[in-house]
Amino acid sequence: MPNTVLLIGYGNPGRLDDGLGPALAFKLEALSMQGLSVEADYQLVVEHAHEIAKYDAVIFADSTVEGDAPYFFREIHPTPKEAFTSHSFSPETILFFAKTIFNARAKGYILGMRGYEFDRFGEYLSDKAKQNLDAAFEFIQDALQSGNLHAK
């Protein structure tokens, strides 16, 4: 188990299932787990790279429009991917910034929670997304407590 872990849950809670990442962050924050720091943000931005350098591991939690429900969890590696927008880099790219600019050694993981509704305004999760959030929460809580961050 890494000694210190940063979990960044990102997405827009005003866009339905896009809010899965922040929703997970708020649930974990409420647990006040030792060694775990939690951030919620609208998107991944460059300054996250500086923050990541302070931790042994970082978990990027986001909604995903594709892939199997309820979630996937996998290790990622620093990779320079040209950003689609400057305000929303990929987790691999943020990890790359952290490594190359700030000499970060943090291991990176991504927790993608399957969402279904994104294209309207609304501050709630769809029923299926809620179920996926609960499953992801249970998984990551167990993983953090057991110190076993294995890909799933």
Binding site: G11, N12, P13, G14, R15, D17, D18, P22, E39, A40, D41, Y42, Q43, V45, V46, E47, A49, H50, D62, S63, T64, V65, E66, G67, P80, K81, E82, A83, F84, T85, S86, H87, S88, F89, S90, F96, F97, T100, I101, F102, I110, G112, G115, F118, D119, R120, F121, G122, E123
Partner: protein, 479 residues
């Protein structure tokens, strides 16, 4: 009759949100028309209809994950009028200003270092593989560190004044809900000299590029236009509050010191069938000629002076380039943006040394009203929020004109100009040519939509259609 083929760039790389450029070529490969299509947010008015007005400054941040603070403050200013707060307490206004300067600083810095500087430092005709932020990291690592640390400084200012990033609550109707502690003040003062030094360095890069490449800057996507922004009552640049001023291409005043609560008397919005985004225009000049530009370039064109010493001096240099006449060069947005960064840092320093920030008188109330209008100079330009609230405190009407909408016509003209200059008559559309179009759009730093960004959600797609409208090529990637 000549045939037309259509090339689509969808969406544009390194521009916020989603957008699509369509370039219509005739059978001689001359550009017949070029348009920027934007998938703008829709349904937001319905989303907040029936909500209590005091929730609005928080809810509107959901509009945009890129500039939530701008929406937070514009809505708060509108709600100030709803609760009858005609004049905020010094602590409240200065806390909001601090938040706003932090927001503009970090937004401009990100745009410059991560979107613009690869093009400016390496040349936008250079190899795509190195003309990006990774090229900056490899070849100018110190610059990359500066960018991240300046951005972080601005974000920390926002955190100290607005609260959590995703639930900013600092500004409330009639004032703010917290002041700045001495510990917070000292935390920021420790780094302020470094921020000023880096801001000067960034300004030097932008200025040097413009002067060294003046022929290209003068001609690239340049066209005459009117300009609009808020200015202070003495004509100074004011990013947080003021009255509306519009000038024409020659610098003549169209209107001045207009109370922004009357903006509907001066501006209208036009709908065009091919675009989701509206086209605002100045009523007095009509929908054909009444379009205008907003944002850093326009603000420096409309203001008479800047009241912070270093940015004030930089403005004089900027204006000297055009001998005091309005600067219409699209690429000069980058220089203007860096002058504003220095202005923000100077203002942040001034505010941090102001004991009013530790005041405890945070909120005022007055006579309740039903109509609230809030304007602010957001990073990308003038942002309009207009609400009506009924006797039960529920929102019954909402109209927003976001900064990028104000620049809609200008961005379309920039795309057209560049397409005609760099694509017309060429037998093949190269990546470099397409990038010229993107450089023109990026200069405006548009926020093209408040889109979701879930994994797998944002494909980068370029599509090409033949004269019959059949797709002949498509390239894409997922982030």
């Amino acid at each position: 009759m000549s045939k037309t083929r259509v090339i689509e760039i969808d969406p544009i790389t390194r521009v916020e949100g989603h957008g699509k450029v369509t370039i219509h070529l005739d059978d001689q490969n001359n550009v017949r028309e070029a348009r920027l299509h934007v998938v703008e947010f829709r349904g937001f008015e319905r989303f907040i209809h029936g909500r209590p007005f005091w929730e609005i400054p928080v809810i509107v941040q959901r509009l945009c994950g890129i500039c939530p603070v701008s929406h937070h403050l514009a809505a708060s200013k509108a709600m100030d009028l709803i609760v009858g707060a005609k004049q905020l307490t010094p602590t409240a206004e200065k806390m909001r200003r601090l938040m706003h300067y932090g927001q503009i600083m970090q937004s401009h810095v990100l745009h410059f270092f991560h979107l613009a500087s690869p093009d400016l430092l390496f040349g936008f005709g250079s190899e795509r593989e190195s003309r990006n932020v990774f090229g900056i990291i490899e070849k100018m690592p110190d610059l990359a560190v500066q960018a991240v640390m300046m951005r972080k400084f601005g974000q920390e200012i926002i955190r100290a004044t607005a609260g959590k990033k995703i639930h900013g609550t600092g500004a409330i109707p009639g004032g703010v809900n917290k002041n700045l502690s001495l510990e917070e003040r000292d935390f920021f003062l420790r780094d302020i000299d470094q921020m000023k030094k880096w801001a000067r360095g960034a300004l030097d890069i932008a200025k040097k590029y413009s002067i060294d490449n003046i022929k290209a800057v003068e001609s690239f996507a340049t066209f005459n236009s009117s300009h609009l922004s808020l200015v202070r009552d003495d004509g100074a640049l004011d990013l947080y509050h003021g009255n509306l001023r519009a000038i024409d291409a020659g610098g003549n005043i169209i209107f001045d010191q207009v109370d922004y609560r009357r903006f509907n008397d001066y501006l209208m919005e036009e709908v065009r069938p091919w675009s989701y985004m509206k086209f605002p225009f100045i009523k007095a000049r009509g929908h054909i000629d009444g379009w205008y530009r907003v944002g850093p370039l326009s603000r420096l064109n409309t203001c008479g002076f800047i009241d912070t010493p270093e940015a004030g001096k930089a403005l004089l240099e900027f204006k000297a380039l055009t001998h005091g006449a309005p600067n219409h060069m699209t690429l000069a947005y980058h220089w203007a943006r860096m002058i504003e960064v220095l202005h923000c840092v100077e203002n942040i320093e001034k505010l941090l040394n102001d004991p009013d920030l530790q005041g405890t008188d945070l909120v005022v109330r007055g006579q309740r009203a039903e109509d609230g209008i809030g304007l602010i100079e957001a990073p990308r330009g003038t942002l309009f929020h207009h609400y009506k609230v009924d006797e039960n405190d529920l929102v019954t009407f909402c109209n927003l004109i976001v900064s990028t909408t104000n620049n809609n016509e200008a961005m379309n003209r920039a795309v057209r100009k560049v397409a005609q200059d760099h694509i017309s008559g060429k037998p093949k559309i190269t990546e470099g040519m397409l990038n010229h179009v993107e450089v023109a759009v990026r200069a405006y730093d548009p926020c093209l939509s408040c889109a979701t960004h879930a994994l797998g959600k944002m494909p980068l797609v370029i599509e090409m259609y033949d004269v019959e409208g059949s797709l002949v090529d498509r390239k894409g990637q997922h982030v």
